[in-house]
């Protein structure tokens, strides 16, 4: 059943083979973890590594970290868009934080803005220009903090349903602290996949680990896998 599903390779060394070859295309995947667990780096590396390998278009929307910070961070990990031809047209990074600042500085309130709807409109626009393969929202928490507090479950239901109606694979980055999952509504149930990232102290070192908590239509490893970043790519190490 799982072998006929078209899949998006993550190109994280050692990961795809542990989940039937990759993530089912069209899935909505939650990438969760506490601050500093390389959630943005994982999702960006999926964009970057796919873009390196051919005709591919990705959209990365950041709400809090600036586009420049994100690009500098990724360049530091060996994933500079400027180092590769056509990379800027293959990966669009949209900094909604800049837009939020612009609106606020101009005396317009950003609170009344329906950012979920606005993002869906942006996705539609991009899709009209080129087939979008991957969409990343960084982060879900920032987005939800701007939305209607009354009905987060309803809003998330419609948002995820809309994402699923597109052929692209979507990644929603979510910050969690311990087991706390504040204001995420029903996203855990609605998402097709959940990748959990953690920092674990081993002696005097902090090691990064990731685990596939859930991935529909996929046989996957359930162990937490230590990983490193090397030469612009993530790599699962150990068994």
């Amino acid at each position: 059943m799982t072998e006929n599903v078209p899949r998006l390779c993550t190109y994280v060394t050692g990961l795809d083979s542990r989940m039937s070859g990759g993530i089912p295309k069209g899935s909505v995947v939650l990438v969760e973890g506490s601050a500093g667990c390389l959630k943005s780096s994982l999702t960006y590396s999926i964009l970057y590594q796919n873009a390196l390998r051919g005709n591919f278009h990705g959209l990365y929307i950041t709400l809090e970290q600036s586009r420049q910070d994100l690009e500098e961070h990724m360049a530091g990990l060996g994933m500079a868009r400027s180092s590769q031809q056509d990379m800027e047209s293959k990966i669009a990074i949209v900094d909604l934080g800049e837009l939020r600042s612009f609106l606020t500085e101009s005396g317009e309130s950003e609170i009344g803005t329906n950012w979920l709807k606005s993002i869906l409109k942006q996705i539609d626009s991009y899709q009209e220009e080129f087939p979008l393969d991957v969409f990343v929202l960084d982060s879900l928490n920032a987005m939800l903090s701007l939305q209607d507090k009354e009905n987060p479950r309803v809003e998330m239901f419609h948002f995820i349903r809309e994402l699923k109606s597109h052929p692209m694979t979507s990644f929603l980055i979510s910050e969690v602290s311990g087991t706390e999952r504040v204001g995420r509504g029903s996203v855990d149930f609605l998402a097709d996949g959940i990748i959990r990232m953690e920092a674990k102290r081993v002696d005097e070192m902090v090691n990064m680990q990731m685990g596939i908590v859930k991935m529909r239509k996929t046989y996957h490893d359930r162990s937490f896998m230590p990983f490193i970043v090397r030469n612009g790519a993530l790599e699962v190490v150990g068994k």
Binding site: R67, A92, I93, V94, F102, S106, T113, S118, I119, Q122
Partner: protein
């Protein structure tokens, strides 16, 4: 220039900025003291193009900013063939 210049501009701006396009255009009108319409002077058109390109550059980088600028220039300059 077309009678529905504002709609055309809004459509192009929405392409990049999503549903906040109308808010952005309202701010641009207030900031520059212009009214986006078919009666805009060439100077006002240039002012609007420059501002929107700068905002897009901050938000989405040069590739999209150049693309938006090209689309808007085509839409707002009557001598150029109109884009889609």
């Amino acid at each position: 220039m077309s009678d529905d210049a504002k709609d055309i501009v809004a459509e192009k701006v929405r392409w990049v900025f999503g549903d906040v396009a109308d808010q952005i255009l309202k701010i641009e009108e207030q900031r520059n003291g212009i009214l986006i319409s078919d009666n805009m002077s060439p100077e006002d058109v240039e002012k609007l193009l420059k501002d929107l390109k700068a905002l897009c550059l901050r938000m989405a980088g040069p590739a999209l900013a150049d693309r938006l600028n090209e689309e808007l220039s085509t839409a707002l300059h009557p001598s150029k063939p109109r884009g889609k």
